[in-house]
């Protein structure tokens, strides 16, 4: 033991390897996320596209070349460039470009609103279920399991059918479809970190449950929740179009990408390109959302 006792004389570590290294500014977590995001050009580029799509939807009346509702019996299913219609016309002779621009309004709302509601409601339920203890967890998660018994499209149809058509009811039914899955994602992430030592250390330092959730749990749960939410945006747009197709979501003649896709589908041999346009719009929107959210998730990971 006398050998180890001499260790007392060794000087305390000073980390001289870093002597003279420049001091880095102290940044909070979210600040550092923004800094990392600002260096990610790919994400920023796709973010600009997303912004462009959103702006098109907002300023649709200023941008659209024609009235999206005005029909023409002679100008049906015309090709690109016909009589100044840049992308031709649809099966009722309405300007396709104008309808796509206006359709972005409803499609974006149908894509984002249910996901937002589900993220807030399902995420909260999941964190509560993961953190609050056994009884609350069982109550919440078993209730969610009931929803899992139904295929998602069937559930959306059933709820919309019971409540009637329309955009608001569509949003509500889609939210209900997404909440259980979102809840599960948040619950799993919370349960994973719940028993880690830093939570226990925080408790030992006198922090209450709310403070622990706010400072130590949310930042670590948001990542997986975020990435899952972004993947739901495109699913939501497509499910909404499915509801519209069944007459339960958006009602004609409202322009909606999903609805346009299903009505133009009959004309696929006459005007394949025009028929593909709403699909292309959905594809571009969803892929941009996915890439942006992937970038944000990467920026939220401190190791990147």
């Amino acid at each position: 033991m006398s050998k180890t006792a001499t260790l007392t004389d060794t000087p305390l570590p000073t980390d001289s390897e870093f002597e003279g290294a420049p001091a880095t500014p102290v940044r909070g977590y979210w600040q550092s996320v923004l800094v990392r995001l600002s260096r990610d050009w790919v994400t920023l580029a796709f973010g600009v596209v997303v912004l462009f799509i959103i702006c098109c939807a907002i300023f649709a009346p200023l941008i659209a070349p024609f009235d999206p509702y005005s029909q023409s019996i002679i100008g049906r299913l015309k090709p690109f460039g016909w009589r100044n219609h840049p992308w031709g016309t649809d099966e009722l002779g309405r300007d396709l470009m104008s309808r796509l621009i206006y359709g972005g309004r409803i499609s974006l709302v149908m894509g984002l609103a249910p996901v937002l509601v589900a993220t807030i409601v399902g995420g909260t339920l999941g964190v509560v279920g993961g953190f609050a203890g056994k009884i609350a967890n069982t109550a919440i998660m078993r209730t969610m399991d009931v929803f899992y018994a139904f295929p998602s499209i069937l559930l959306a149809v059933a709820i919309s059918g019971a409540m009637g058509g329309g955009i608001t009811n569509g949003i509500i039914s889609l939210s209900l479809v997404f909440i259980p899955a979102m809840c599960r994602v948040a619950e799993t992430a919370t349960a994973q970190i719940k028993n880690l030592d830093y939570i226990e250390a925080a408790r030992a330092s006198g922090a209450g449950t709310l403070a622990i959730v706010r400072h130590h749990v949310l930042g670590n749960v948001l990542g997986p929740v975020f990435i899952y939410a972004s993947s739901l945006v495109s699913v939501s747009i497509l499910l909404a179009s499915g509801l519209s197709f069944l007459g339960l979501g958006v009602q004609p003649p409202e322009p909606d990408w999903g609805l346009m896709l299903s009505t133009l589908r009959q004309s696929i041999y006459v005007d394949p390109l025009g028929c593909a346009m709403p699909g292309i719009a959905i594809f571009i929107t969803s892929i941009c959302f996915n890439l942006v959210s992937d970038g944000v998730r990467a920026a939220m990971d401190v190791r990147e």
């Binding site: 001091a23 102290v26 940044r27 977590y29 226990e200 030992a204 130590h216 401190v302």
Partner: protein
């Protein structure tokens, strides 16, 4: 080795009973965990009637095999796990009792350093914020807490301007563990529980951190409860040592006496299990064979009898008790051989 025993008189504004009053008295502390699938009413006797006294300014080492209840005991002391029964008295005040000290107040004076230095830091929080979190939760403003965190980072040998903004993954194991120590110290505790705090570190880094702990203890007037399975480390840092086996205390005494003349056969076996660097003293057969019995269904009488070379009928019939201890020099063992009146054929020899 026992320099801290003769340390300067203990001074702290929060001190109540003076140096003679123990920092912490633990009486018959018990915690059983229910287990599923092991029969109805089956429990793991993780901590089963543990009693000891921690004096002010000392370092009490706790040793024992994996699963003997060391970590559960540490968490019980902070009420991170609530005890089933038993009593905790912190500086003369009963913990979580009417007219006693509240758990919140206890946690302001007793802090803990965990074994897994990575899991005990929030990966998404700069370490300076991790250290400042405790003070902030206790009413300090953010700039105040930040300044306190920077001061304490200096004390553990980390430059706050360099390391403060970093995230845990950017630090080495030893640095992370120093951050954990800083986090515990930021609360200004009087007592620190070190739960295997150096066990996961390289030997060289371990020595650094041990020396840091000793230096901090001197400058900050701390009392340590040092939990480890490494006997050499415990001997190096402890004034007194407590040996645990299957949730119970089997031996308690001053480090020097316990390591030179162990009284309990389990302690003797533990000490004999240390690997020797001396080629002539190498042993072929391990002194302890097999795993400890299940804490769900421990043996009757003495829990060590199933692995003890001296087990007799009396060991199966009666559970040996630790006996009475008075002060920091008492050396007691829960063994029938240590009790002259037990009826064991070797009674009174240990």
């Amino acid at each position: 080795m026992s320099t801290t025993l003769a340390a300067q008189p203990y001074v702290d504004a929060r001190d109540r009973g003076g140096a003679a009053q123990p920092m912490l008295i633990v009486r018959a502390l018990q915690r059983h965990f229910r287990v599923k699938g092991a029969g109805k009413g089956a429990v793991v006797r993780a901590v089963d009637g543990v009693s000891f006294t921690l004096f002010k300014g000392e370092t009490l080492g706790i040793v024992g095999e994996s699963g003997c209840g060391k970590s559960t005991l540490a968490r019980l002391l902070l009420h991170l796990i609530v005890p089933d029964s038993g009593e905790l008295v912190f500086d003369g005040e009963a913990v979580a009792a009417p007219r006693g000290i509240t758990v919140a107040a206890l946690r302001r004076q007793v802090q803990m350093v965990f074994q897994d230095s990575y899991a005990s830091l929030n990966p998404r929080m700069p370490i300076q914020d991790s250290v400042a979190f405790g003070p902030m939760m206790n009413g300090q403003s953010r700039p105040q807490a930040r300044r306190a965190a920077q001061d304490i980072l200096v004390k553990v040998g980390l430059r706050p301007d360099l390391f403060g903004p970093r995230y845990p993954h950017e630090l080495s194991g030893g640095q992370k563990q120093r951050v954990n120590i800083a986090r515990a110290l930021a609360m200004g505790p009087r007592m620190v529980i070190l739960d295997e705090a150096v066990s996961a570190l390289d030997k060289s880094v371990e020595a650094q951190v041990l020396n840091l702990l000793r230096a901090l203890k001197r400058t900050l007037n701390l009392t340590y409860l040092f939990i480890s399975h490494d006997l050499n480390v415990v001997r190096y840092i402890s004034d007194r040592v407590l040996v645990m086996y299957l949730g119970q205390v089997v031996e308690l005494g001053p480090a020097a006496g316990l390591f030179t003349t162990p009284r309990h056969p389990y302690t003797r076996a533990l000490l004999a299990s240390r690997l020797s660097m001396d080629a002539t003293r190498r042993i072929d057969t391990p002194p302890l064979i097999g795993d400890p019995p299940s804490p769900i269904n421990p043996p009757s009488g003495c829990r060590f009898r199933t692995r003890c070379a001296h087990a007799e009928a009396v060991c199966a019939d009666h559970m040996p008790t630790l006996g009475a201890w008075e002060d920091r020099t008492s050396h007691v063992a829960a063994c029938h051989m240590a009790d002259a009146t037990s009826g064991h054929s070797l009674a009174g020899t240990a």
